[in-house]
Amino acid sequence: MSMHETAIGTDPAASAIEVPAASATGVQRLTMAKALNAGLREALSGDDKVLLYGEDIGALGGVFRITEGLQATFGTDRVIDSPLAESGIVGTAVGLALRGYRPVVEIQFDGFVYPAFDQIVSQVSRLRFRTHGALGVPMVIRIPYGGGIGAIEHHSESPEAYFAHTPGLKVVTCSNPSDAYWMIQQAIADDDPVVFLEPKRRYQEKGEVDVSAPPLPLYASRTVKPGTDATLLSYGPMVRTCVQAAVAAADEGRNLEVIDLRSLSPLDDAAVFASVRRTGRAIVVHEAVGTLGIGAELAARIQAECFYELQAPVLRVTGYDLPYPPSRVEEGYLPDLDRVLDAVDRSLAY
């Protein structure tokens, strides 16, 4: 179905999406899964109070093997196989956090975070506020999310908007191994609760990781590719798709800017506005359903802040407003570079 199969096939996006390693010291070529594992290992080594907690994260190393080998190194008291109950995991992690620990919770799949929703929305996000700042909840909730892996239902969800709508939570997501490595460490070091979304379809993609580079600010976006004609705004699994689209568009003489938001709450909207003011056009791309997805908020903010600069309305390329469909049709459901380019065409036609 793709008009740009060659572009996908040769994948010139691969190099663009990687963060160039500043120095050769400590540079390794890792999958995102291994980068996260390395980041977690660093965090566990660096601070005794850091605990990993979740279903099957011990001997098995998690169903995606993100925690592989960590229980062997750090013991069952710090890498804890929990009973099978997400509200219980998050709720007891609150107690651990209130007593000085820094629990890093793993939710096994996106679709299984909802049983913990009350604890996340009414407790994790609010304990600081509820206690006038007396208590904080330095917790990270790791969630493998998104589709594209041929899974059965409840295993391909993109729940980010639920969390980004909730004051008191921070919500971040990584798009490449390098970011994965330092972002997970920064999230664990943060004194606020962070929902850390891991794009599971990107777990096995490799990239350069400089384990010795100083970390970047966690809540800042990254301009993956500068451009002048329109701004593609995306995050997590769709960054690669947007870079691929930008590469394909370049063939047609279009110079697209691609921004990886990294943080969905808070949104680095200053960088977004600056870009859109330059290009005059913005297209938000995400897997989550369109209605009240992150694209809605970005569109609302951009049209308010860049009203006179916008040459076209902010367009959204998102999952359709359906529950995630069976895997045999997920390719049509998920935004791909053709749908992005189609939106670019529509934007430029204004």
Binding site: M1, M3, E55, D56, G58, A59, L60, G61, V63, D81, S82, P83, L84, A85, S87, G88, G111, F112, Y114, P115, G150, A151, I152, E153, H154, H155, T291, Y320, D321, L322, P323, P325, P326, S327, R328, V329, E330, G332, Y333, D338, R339, D342
Partner: protein, 375 residues
Amino acid sequence: MTQSAGNNREPSVADVPIQLLDPSGRRLDHPDFHYDGTDADLAASLRDMVLARRIDAEATALQRKGELGLWPPLLGQEAAQIGSARAVRDPDLVVPSYREHGVAWCRGVDPVDLLTTFRGTGMTDWPSRPDTFYPYAFVIGSQTLHAVGMAMAQQRDGAVGNDDPDANGAVIVYFGDGATSQGDVNEAFGFAAATSAPVVFFCQNNQWAISEPAIVQSRVPLYRRAAGFGFPGVRVDGNDVLAVQAVTEWALDLARRGGGPVLVEAFTYRMGAHTTSDDPTKYRTSDEVAEWRAKDPIDRLRAYLTAAGAIDDAWEAALVAEADALAARLRDGCVSLPEPDLADFWDLVYANTPDLLVRQREEFLAYEASFEEAR
């Protein structure tokens, strides 16, 4: 001051699973439970178990060949599933989790249909599903509350506690050892107890929740949970199809008559991987697996029936042929499953599709069409 009021960690007699057929195929007596069927009935059970195992093996193979995205094997749990399913009769309702392929088979679901879910051509519901068998559930424990609600509906429908036993029905809901930690499952226990709903909670304790042994969920036998909510719980040898059927018949009968809920813990073993994505060698020993292989549910029933002269080589040969035919049908059926069309899904979200979705589908179709034109 010390005492041990209510401390219940000591083993009790009830911790020993009810057994009517031992691993060598010898029938046993039990003071409370008896298998009422004939050897012919047991041969029918054996047939169901063998065919369920064959369906399972074939689906696992189809996954290996790339025809399925995933398969959760039931290997080892045939007695728990066939024994309990054969205790069900109309108008009972069956609410499965995701591994109940044997139960589905007994309740008349075409096994080819089950593959839609795991091939990704459809969701969790299949054309052949009878009205009394509910869709597979993947959010652990969620279905137990639905089952209690259905049982509350049966109460309101007057289908419980009638003098005419045929007018009575109950609900049987399946879940695993891991599920017992979920809030939903415990809320289901509470709601069922409080309303005396006619529901049999059928827990297949297959010793593992993916990589976690049952001890991660509970230090005491799971059947005991029921007493804390005020209803009976029993532990049955889940590899003994006679005992499972006898216990489930008793439990369903109690529920149908208005006696309220029952928890049955079928003590069994997941011989295979959690799913085809899983690698159990990471977390359990081959010794453990070998130990349970010696308790195989099919072997022991075959041993009994053979010794009793109820089955013979001809019977076995016919069953092999039947299983082969079923397997072939499954292979063909799998690759012939109709490919879904995304365009059809917009009409499945609501009973009355709102404008936004109508428009979205139209845009999708126009977009798709633009590629055809471009060719």
